[in-house]
């Protein structure tokens, strides 16, 4: 190899920087040249161009496909959020997002994982505060649709544990189950956009949403605040005893809380929300 010939690693790192440059390969190269990392002479020596398209133009083919492919995936995964933001703002949001959260997983399914939180911190999210809530709902629905099949815990499974130890039981939520809490009626807004109505400011009303997949289609249920709190406690890996504690507003009401927790547990088993049960080990 001559000094001008890059190693495979050097080549890949350089091409990567050019094809992911947010303004395109040429502005990306200008920035790299200013930093002394790469110059046009080197790129031209490495990558063949011709009278139809020069070296940088050929990298730009990939650069354009990189951005638009990922934007289209996110626009599909967050269709209602994109409708709320509008085309130009969604485009800009994706540009900003990919700079911070480029895909790091072999499957495109995970590309939008951090988008709801990112939008919550973004200027557009502050301008339209129901947009991040919608993004969270859409992400939860997507996950409910796709997540892996996992056997649910049944009451027969629970009967294997001695009743005096149920307070030490730690449950897991099935992978399709998630919780979304929003200060707006995002479900109503979702349905209006789905019906073809233009996105409008939703009613300010706190919603606790349980998203899961009973069979093949995601289902979104509005649940009571205490059930949401109990499920969040389960999701945090706490014991069933601690779930009871989360339901008790005061020590005097511990007995009522235990009754409520038992009722909720029966309902979770019925709706097949739990995937694992084990005794906490000390």
């Amino acid at each position: 190899m001559t000094a001008a010939t890059p190693t495979l690693r050097e080549l890949q790192l350089a091409v990567w920087k050019l094809l992911t440059a947010p303004e395109g390969a040429r502005p990306g190269l200008e920035e790299l040249a200013r930093a002394g990392e790469l110059d046009e002479e080197t790129v031209t020596a490495w990558i063949a161009g011709d009278e139809r398209l020069d070296s940088l133009g050929r990298i730009d083919v990939y650069a354009n496909m990189y951005f638009f492919r990922l934007r289209d995936i996110l626009a599909e995964d967050f269709a209602k959020t994109a409708a709320i933001l509008g085309e130009a703002r969604f485009h800009n949001l994706v540009t900003d997002y990919l700079l911070v959260h480029p895909s790091s997983h072999p499957s495109l399914r995970w590309l939008g994982r951090a988008l709801p939180a990112f939008l919550g911190e973004h200027a557009y999210g502050r301008e339209l505060p129901w947009a991040p809530q919608m993004a969270a709902l859409e992400w939860a629905r997507n996950e409910a649709f796709q997540s892996r099949n996992t056997p649910a815990v049944s009451s027969v499974d629970l009967a294997a544990f001695p009743s005096e130890r149920w307070g030490d039981l730690v449950f897991s939520l099935k992978p399709d189950v998630s919780l979304v809490t929003a200060p707006f009626d995002v479900v109503g807004l979702f349905e209006r956009i789905d019906g073809g109505a233009p996105p409008s400011e939703p009613e300010r009303r706190e919603q606790h949403l349980l998203v899961h997949r009973p069979r093949f289609a995601p289902e979104v249920e509005e649940i009571a605040a205490d059930e949401a709190r109990a499920l969040e406690t389960v999701a945090a890996g706490r014991t069933f005893g601690e779930v009871c504690g989360a339901l008790a507003p005061s020590e005097e009401l511990v007995a009522e809380a235990a009754t409520r927790a038992a009722t909720l547990l029966a309902a979770w088993l019925e709706r097949e929300l739990l995937s694992g049960a084990r005794l906490k080990t000390t």
Binding site: Q12, R52, R69, S103, F216
Partner: protein
Amino acid sequence: MSRPPFLGHGVGLRRDHFERILDAPTDVDWFEAISENFMGVGGRARAVLDAVREKYPVVLHGVSLSIGSTDPLDLAYLDELRDLAGSVEPAWVSDHLCWTGVGGKNAHDLLPLPYTEEALRHVVDRVARVQERLKRRIALENVSSYMAYRFSQMPEGEFLARVAEEADCGILLDVNNVYVSSVNHGFDPHEYLAAVPPARVWQFHVAGHSHEGQLLLDTHDHEVPDPVWKLYEEAVRRFAPVSTLIEWDDRIPPFETLEAERNKAAAIYVEIAGVSEPAVRARVAG
């Protein structure tokens, strides 16, 4: 080395066609499923794949193996793929001779390698490790490309052939990709085919492309154009018996349009190779 069984003429398994495929008989002999669309995935997509597999042979075709990347192999990805293949029992597993990312990031694009001795050694070593991890041989597909490296040391066809021979893997010969790259880089597609060893070719891809300025883009969103059918004829003449798959991934048409393209490929194939019955149809019960 033995080639896998001849499956006939298939199409890609796409969400838009799930109901049509399961609701009524088709002319299709087999389906190709994108591996990543089913890795760690449950629900309806997985149920459809299992139902299709009950009726047809299936091949798993990946897009994120990134066999040419200089990043370490993603062992979690390989284990997930091995588990999927273990449950689906595909006729074979394939991916692309390219790199898709570096530095822990993924472009989700099929980026071309330089055709150098260094890249050859790198890929051959990784294919061996992938095949060991998956406990099966794989086929690698030639990609369409829009850029080529001046310091390549051999033509792409020779690189593909040497990878297959030295790593003991199969070749998924994408006829459209050969044509697209030949136009984009000005090489002779017939010389390319002549460099490929017939015993290594497990499968053909045939697809449409689109024009972008004076280059061709591998968009899989059109019917197969005449120059690609012509090259397919030559490939059948040289490599048959080889299973063929029609790719159509964007602006997906009604299933009947895809089926008509599949039937056209089958008619061309039969006229040249005189073979019509696939060796394998549905999964054997029990």
